[in-house]
């Protein structure tokens, strides 16, 4: 599904050069639920940006379903994200000026075969909230809204960058349950970035990053139910 070959990402700010990724190789299978773990500065977000076609590697290649996104131009990457990718961010990134329904419509518009708004709301447990505005929702509900916006276009891959980072344990489990069910119900490949070690048990695969390298990349043969993990 996703292939990373010799991926290097180098940032230059003034005279200072930082290697965020130092040669990453990996193959992420289709429909997997990958948990990416690592401390701050390990390169997690950089890796997500590259796999999500948000950025280009300095060296190496990134391909998704044999399409080499690391060689795509800005417009092609934009089209790629439009067709194949959904994002969920730590800070929800929903638009306060738009209602719940309108926020989801933002995602729906991008797809040629989208879910209905009702289905997306049902999938995240927000049925009946269509007319509300984000500021009328709790943190967990906002994150669910963000997920609904991401999945309404039926993406092949859902990238989640610290989706529970701003939530307490109860709300976090609630959101993780929604993401997990999407992986199971729709077969969406989920790549979830977190620094929360407890989440390593819920994914089908676990990747650990350390100082820009893959420290370990393992298959989780016996995932634990989300309700049973402890933060």
């Amino acid at each position: 599904m996703i292939d990373l070959t010799g991926v290097v990402k180098r940032y230059k700010q003034g005279d200072v050069t930082t290697d965020a990724l130092r040669g990453v190789d990996a193959h992420i299978p289709k429909q997997s639920f990958l948990i990416v773990l690592g401390p701050s500065g390990s390169g997690k977000s950089t890796l997500l940006n590259l796999m999500g076609a948000l950025d280009l590697p300095t060296e190496g290649s990134v391909s998704v379903n044999e399409a080499i996104i690391s060689e795509m131009g800005s417009k092609a990457r934009s089209q790629f994200r439009r067709k194949h990718v959904g994002f969920v961010f730590q800070d929800y990134n929903v638009l306060n000026t738009l209602s719940v329904k309108e926020n989801i419509e933002l995602g729906q518009y991008l797809s040629t075969r989208p879910m209905s708004i009702d289905e997306a709301l049902r999938a995240v447990g927000l049925s009946g909230y269509e007319a509300r505005y984000p500021y009328e929702l709790s943190g967990g509900e906002r994150q669910r809204l963000s997920i609904a916006r991401a999945i309404v276009k039926r993406p092949d891959i859902l990238f989640c960058d610290e989706p529970t980072g701003s939530l307490d344990e109860t709300l976090a489990k609630d959101v993780l349950g929604v993401i997990h069910s999407l992986n199971e119900t729709y077969g969406t490949t989920v790549i979830l970035i977190t620094h929360n070690e407890a989440l390593r048990h819920i994914g089908s695969h676990v990747m650990r990053l350390k100082s820009g390298h893959i420290d370990s990349f393992t298959k989780n043969h016996e995932p634990i139910a989300i309700k049973d993990i402890t933060f």
């Binding site: 439009r82 990718v85 961010f89 638009l95 738009l98 995602g107």
Partner: protein, 770 residues
């Protein structure tokens, strides 16, 4: 303090493009006011002084060119002469006696000081062309000559002329000017304050390229070969009175108040109008600038809320935190307002010269004065400063904990929630555009007001252009009269052309130019706005021109009193002719002659569609009037260009500034939409698309506002200044301006889309949501 200043500088530095445009707006506002105030305002001062010191006449009495039998009795020992010109040829001293007699006779009516104004019309002989010249003697108590440069002529071969004419034709002091076969040395450049004089071809115009006024001393004047004429100049001793009191004298033709003469009365109207309009325009531009400053400040201060909250928490007070910001805003606005004022000062002499091309007035000394600086710099500056203080106090005058909380746009969202619900079924993009517009209501309002102002200015320019087309060109091009002969005192009139009466009078207390036409005549059509001929109505009563209707307020069916030749008659208005030639009233010639002169056969002018075969006292060629109109039109066109350019500049600045600020404000949203997979075109449509609609809305609002304003201004000019200034715009012009603004917006939007392209999508990933 230094870190705070640096922080403020860096905050504003990030918006240098917007700041630059804002600076241009502020400078433009100051420039608009100062250039007109210094350029035109100084003419008013010098004009007041000039008219007072050189005793401008309050009125002129136009007298008969023939000598009445009662006057002949007063000319003992003088040779017999039918006309004043013949009398002058026979005996200049008898001519003087006649003039003295006339002044004495008129002096028995009304309380005014009178003086004969004697002049000779001649031709200037140039290599391959001839120009018109009217030579005077210096006025004794009224209309005294103003010497601009050089000295007054004292010798038999000396002359002083207008400097305007001299500069157009390359004459300098000491040069030789040949007129009526004699060469004269130019000793000085002069101005004459009696504005009824430049009526060589037509009362409305004075063509400074081909016509000049001049003065000579008595000896040279006596020897000069031009044809002599005279009228009586007068100054009211106390309150003005109706000049018809003079109509009881035998030599009275009609009286003309100087203030009613466009070339004189309009000087003040133009000056006051220009100053008023420039002030209004300046205030409008400044208003937009001030609102934009408020917007930008709010944005900058919003961004600084959290650090300011931290500073407050650390113990710094409000004054310490805000002072650097206010200092920077003050310096910035003061700088651009001063630049605008200095530029206005620099361009003021050029604007003054532009006015002096039309009006024969002395130059004013353009110097900067405290009042102008106060209006153009200090007033907007203090308003800006106060506004900045209000914005900053409102945003930062809170507790540190409140300032350090994340920002939220909840309030605005709630406010417009109900409006948004109404459009719930609108197309996808429309709803999103509306969401962005309602979130940025202040920007949307400024954008719309800016568009309305800019479009109004463009409409005004086109309306001004139309004024001359409608008032004169359309009239003279619509009639078939190419030559008009005035029969001043002739008794043996050949049978050519069509007979008419042209006479000045009053109707409904409004000065009227009464034209008596035969219903059978063919050269002067008289039609209503539907194209139906009104000639058949003339025997029932007068038909008035649209311009006279505007001046008098008369409507069809109204009764009015007509004063002519000292007689008073009641008439009923029969129709309104669709033309704006001036204060024209049309009547049936025979009825007019019968009513006022007890004979149906009188006429004093001939209309012809070809040159006359015979000589007449005075022949006016329509072609010359149109040529004069063309000259004035050129001047109007220059004003028009300036206005169009100003309108476009304001439009471009407003559009560019607000689209730029919108993109900058929505950086996060743009980045997020990019992350989601929207392309730049779609994002542009979402974020800026609402402005398309506001452009159309602003344009639609500007149309009725302009039409109503033009109607009010037209009536105002008529009521206050007795000027016919029919401003209107055609559907085609509206369409053209719409296309122009559409194109401007497309260019601005293209530039804005480039800015959207530059927004990094990384911004959405880590930035704290606003």
């Amino acid at each position: 303090m230094k870190p705070l200043i640096l922080h403020s500088v860096r905050l504003l530095k990030g918006q240098w493009r917007s700041l630059l445009l804002l600076g241009v707006i502020l400078a433009l506002s100051a420039f608009t006011y100062s250039v007109v105030d210094l350029g035109v305002g100084t003419i008013e001062e010098s004009t007041d002084a000039y008219f007072e010191s050189h005793v401008q006449e309050d009125f002129s009495i136009i007298t008969t060119p023939t000598i009445a039998s009662s006057e002949r009795e007063a000319l003992e020992n003088c040779p017999f002469a039918f006309s004043i010109e013949a009398l002058y040829d026979a005996s200049p001293s008898c001519f003087e006696s006649l003039m003295d007699h006339r002044v004495e006779t008129f002096d028995t009516y009304g309380e005014a000081t009178l003086e004969a104004r004697i002049y000779k019309d001649g031709l200037i002989n140039r290599q391959d062309e001839t120009h018109d010249i009217r030579v005077f003697l210096d006025g004794e108590t009224i209309n005294k000559t103003y010497l601009e440069a050089g000295s007054m002529p004292t010798g038999d071969d000396e002359i002083a002329i207008l400097s305007n004419y001299a500069s157009h034709n390359g004459y300098t002091l000491g040069d030789t000017l040949k007129t009526e076969g004699t060469s004269y040395t130019i000793t000085g450049f002069i101005l004459l304050p009696d504005y009824n004089l430049p009526a060589i071809q037509h009362p409305l115009f004075f063509m400074s390229e081909t016509q000049t006024l001049a003065v000579m001393d008595q000896g040279a004047f006596n020897d000069y070969g031009g044809s002599i004429d005279a009228h009586i100049a007068g100054v009211f001793d106390s309150e003005p009175f109706d000049l018809s009191v003079y109509s009881e004298t035998d030599s009275y033709l009609h009286g003309l108040l100087t203030e009613n003469n466009l070339r004189s009365g309009a000087v003040y109207a133009e000056i006051e109008g220009s100053r008023g309009a420039s002030l209004a325009l300046s205030v409008l531009i400044a208003f937009i600038g001030i609102v934009v400053v408020g917007l930008m400040l709010k944005k900058a201060v919003d961004r600084s809320k959290r650090p300011f909250g931290v500073l407050k928490a650390l113990g710094l007070n409000f004054k310490e935190i805000t002072l650097p910001f206010l200092l920077l805003v003050s310096l910035f606005s003061l700088f651009f307002l001063l630049i605008g004022t200095v530029l206005g000062w620099g361009f003021a002499p050029a604007l003054q010269q532009f006015f002096l091309m039309i009006y024969l007035l002395p130059e004013g000394v353009v110097s900067i004065n405290i009042f102008t600086v106060m209006v153009s710099v200090l007033v907007p500056f203090f308003v800006l400063l106060s506004l900045s203080l209000i914005v900053i106090r409102r945003l930062l005058g809170k507790e540190p904990v409140v300032l350090m909380r994340p920002l939220s746009s909840v309030e605005q969202t709630i406010r417009f929630k109900s409006v948004r619900r109404l459009l719930a079924r609108a197309p996808f993009f429309t709803r999103f555009q509306l969401a962005f517009l309602t979130r940025n209501l202040l920007k949307t309002t400024v954008f719309t007001i800016g568009v309305i102002l800019s479009v109004f200015l463009a409409f005004l320019a086109f309306a001004m252009d139309g004024v001359f087309d409608e008032t004169l060109d359309a009239y003279y091009e619509g009639i078939d009269v190419t030559h008009t002969a005035h029969l001043l005192g002739s008794t043996d009139i050949p049978d050519e052309g069509e007979r008419v009466i042209e006479v000045d009078g009053r109707m409904h207390d409004t000065q009227a130019f009464v034209i008596g036409l035969d219903a059978s005549q063919t050269l002067h059509p008289l039609e209503d706005e539907n194209g139906a001929s009104l000639l058949g109505m003339l025997d029932e009563g007068p038909v008035i021109s649209k311009s006279f209707q505007l001046l008098s307020g008369l409507e069809v069916g109204d009764e009015a009193i007509l004063n002519l030749y000292g007689e008073t008659k009641h008439v009923t208005i029969q129709g309104v002719a669709d033309m704006y030639p001036g204060n024209h009233v049309f009547m049936d010639r025979a009825s007019l002659s019968e009513a006022f002169l007890d004979s149906p056969d009188f006429y004093n002018a001939l209309y012809h569609d070809a040159p006359f075969d015979n000589d007449y006292d005075r022949v006016i060629e329509t072609e010359n009037i149109l040529a004069s109109s063309e000259q004035i039109n050129e001047v109007i066109m220059r004003v028009l260009y300036v206005m169009i350019v100003s309108a476009i500049v304001i439009g471009v600045i407003i559009m560019a500034l607000l689209t730029g600020v919108t993109i900058s404000d929505n950086g996060y949203n743009i980045a997020l939409l990019k992350v989601l997979g929207y392309d730049n075109k779609e994002i542009g449509r979402m974020i800026l698309g609402g402005y398309n609609k506001m452009l159309v809305l602003g344009f639609i609002i500007a149309v009725p506002i302009s039409l109503v304003s033009f109607s009010v201004m037209t009536q105002l000019f008529a009521d206050v200044y007795s000027l016919v200034w029919p401003m209107s715009i055609s559907v085609w012009q509206i369409f053209m301006i719409f296309v122009l603004y559409g194109m401007i917006y497309m260019i601005v939007a293209k530039r804005a889309r480039r800015e959207i392209e530059r927004v990094s999508l990384q911004k959405a990933l880590k930035i704290y949501q606003d």
